[in-house]
Amino acid sequence: MIDFLNILQETWAVRALLASSLVGIMCGILGCFIVLRNMSLVGDALAHAILPGVVVAFLLVGYSTLAFFTGSVLAGLLTAVGITWIQHRVNTKNDAAIGIVFTAMFSLGVIGISYISRNQGVHLDLKDFLFGNVLGVADTDLLLTGLVTLYVILSVVVFYRYLFVSTFQPVVAETMGIPVRLIHYFLMLLLSFAVVASLQTVGVILVVAMLITPAATALLLSDKMEKVIVISAGMGLLSAVVGLLLAIILNTTPGPAIAVTATSFYLMVVLFAPKKGLFAKAVRRRQLKLRIDREDILKALYRSAQKGHAVNAELRDKLDISLLNWQRGIKQLRRHKWLQTDSLKLTNQGVEAARRLVRAHRLWETYLATEVGLDKEQIHLDAERHEHLLPEAILSAVDEKLGYPQLDPHGSPIPRSIGKPAFPLSKIKVGETAILSADQDGAYVSARLWEEKIMAGTQLRVTNRNDSLLELDYEGRTVSLALQLADQINVVPQGTFVAEA
């Protein structure tokens, strides 16, 4: 441990740490666009294809960081143009075009390197090129990496809108007059920069890991592009630092250590991401299953009570629920206060909840039979599932659309007096007035009142009513509402109520 801390005081270690941090951030940012544009393979191709650029630069200028950089970027751009040209002009599949161009460029580079060592007696280490040599980072390399990182960040900030729209919807971007092709090549230029700057740290084979893995990780963690970019940069930074430190501690090659670290973060997120992780998905599925079981038990208990049947093991068999799930369901029903603590009798709230389920089931069956036109035999199973899933607002809308049916297709009554307000509008006599209460039960009623432009706290006068409709005078306007809807609207009466039928 003391050794380790001592190492961190060495300049080469500090340089290595700085270089890999910068590379992590830069690749993390660019990677978001590369991944979302389905260009991961292009990133890989560019990385391999810059080798001949280095060779030509060496032949022309000799050993110079700036010359290597320029040569590599030019080679990268040439590759990008070549790939895009083939994809647009030649009848070759996209990924095949990428494969053809980058293997050709890489091979030319390798041939060039062996030519140099044979004829000029200079040994260029292909291994450093492939896997990086972060521990040998020089000050000039570091400066270059720093400048490139700054340039990438500035470019993404300034051109963010263009990058966003041309990545999300290139065709729409074009119709907006945004130069989509130019942006593509600009991104290729940035990508070439990033690849060249990453060579020292992770090498050409693994640079694609720095581009793709942090971005893919970030995409599992957020649904907003700006956040994805920031998280991805953070993931890149974290992978680079942790990977490098691990490599120093374990005395192994830094490039692969960084790539493996990035992959471990990715795997952790795949499993444990709060919304999109496999674990969270399993929990949600399980919670839904538990709720469905619980509600099925509730409904079965309600039915037995209605029919005066005794609750016994037969009921459980009919539900096809394991003993464990049955016991868990009962426990949860008691926690909801839907079931009495000492017996299997429903509480008043429990009866209400069960009636909601029955109502959902029968309304949905009616909808499937009358609106969709399905057979009576086909609808039960679908309703069994939907009774657990349909929110009250949709049910009320279905109810209204169906014209408030009394019976379902099997002839059973559809429970109706659910969540009935204390003073329903339907109980106001013709000629009497009432104030619309601000306290309405359920989103559906509020939405309907909003649609009719009736405000809470204002006065309504009932002018007419028949078996199905209620007519109101509201600020000089005549509004007619279905009686069943009026049943659910809460008012403060000014006059007398119609006597309970």
């Binding site: 051109f159 809108r161 999300f168 919807q169 065709v171 729409v172 074009e174 119709t175 907006m176 907003k224």
Partner: protein
């Protein structure tokens, strides 16, 4: 209401790989109308849009928007693509998408202003999607998704709207809402071209129709143009299906 010509298409022909998709199309679009672009599958309706938008090379012909080539009129023409052409997993929220409508109005180095945001909010308000502003677009229903893209188009404040199948896969409330917005825009002098499939709603949705089947069959006011005769010409070969659907009489 303006009645001036906002778009002219003269002798337009488009081919894909030597296969003719559109032949010798002439079309004059008048401002302040809702046009239904009708025709069977493969009639070239989407191709017509792409040609108008300058997205594809045309074999021959000339398209002018407000007497200018499309490149000079980008801001005035807004395109609402088919829902199937969208990557719904993209990390974009409803507000992000609606704000995109402001992009054509911004210079490279300028930021979105509070006026831009106000316009986006107004568009979301009109389409009843304000409450969804922070949702990722993949979490919406088909109807809500269509509303988002229409809100973006509103936000762009263009003169001419091209909508590709906006009524496919949306609920009835959304369909009514879209029609209402289209009619409001037309009453304000905007022009709307709508690729459409459902012949039963043509007369209520559109005051002008364009009947297309690789050639121009007919175009003009719906009452005079959307005739049995013209429909039969447009959908020749698919007549039995149309009889069955009761769209046209079996006379």
């Amino acid at each position: 209401m303006s009645t001036s010509t906002v778009m002219t298409i003269e002798d337009l022909s488009v081919s894909y790989e030597r296969k003719r998709v559109l032949s010798n199309i002439y079309l004059r679009i008048e401002g302040g109308h809702v046009y239904g672009i009708l025709g069977p599958n493969g009639a070239g309706k989407s191709t017509l849009f792409k040609a108008i938008l300058g997205l594809i090379e045309v074999s021959a012909g000339d398209i002018k928007v407000n007497k200018l080539p499309i490149e000079a009129q980008r801001k005035e023409v807004v395109y609402v693509p088919q829902k199937t052409d969208v990557d719904w997993n993209f990390p974009a929220t409803v507000l992000d998408v609606v704000l995109m409508g402001r992009y054509p109005h911004k210079k490279v180095f300028s930021r979105l202003s509070s006026a831009d945001r106000a316009k986006a909010n107004a568009a979301m308000e009109e389409l009843d999607i304000t409450a969804l502003a922070k949702r990722q677009i993949g979490e919406l229903s088909g109807g809500q998704q269509q509303r988002v893209f229409l809100a973006r188009a509103l936000c762009q404040e263009a003169d001419i709207f091209l909508l590709d199948e906006p009524f496919v896969g949306v609920d009835i409330t959304t369909e009514e809402k879209i029609v209402q917005v289209l009619k409001r825009l037309a009453s304000e002098g905007k022009t709307l071209l709508v690729v459409h499939h459902d012949l039963s709603t043509v007369t209520t949705y559109f005051d002008q129709v364009v009947l297309l089947n690789q050639r121009m069959i007919a175009y003009g006011p719906t009452e005079h143009t959307f005739t049995e005769d013209n429909i039969a010409k447009t959908y020749s070969g698919q007549l039995p299906i149309l009889h069955q659907m009761g769209v046209i009489d079996g006379k």
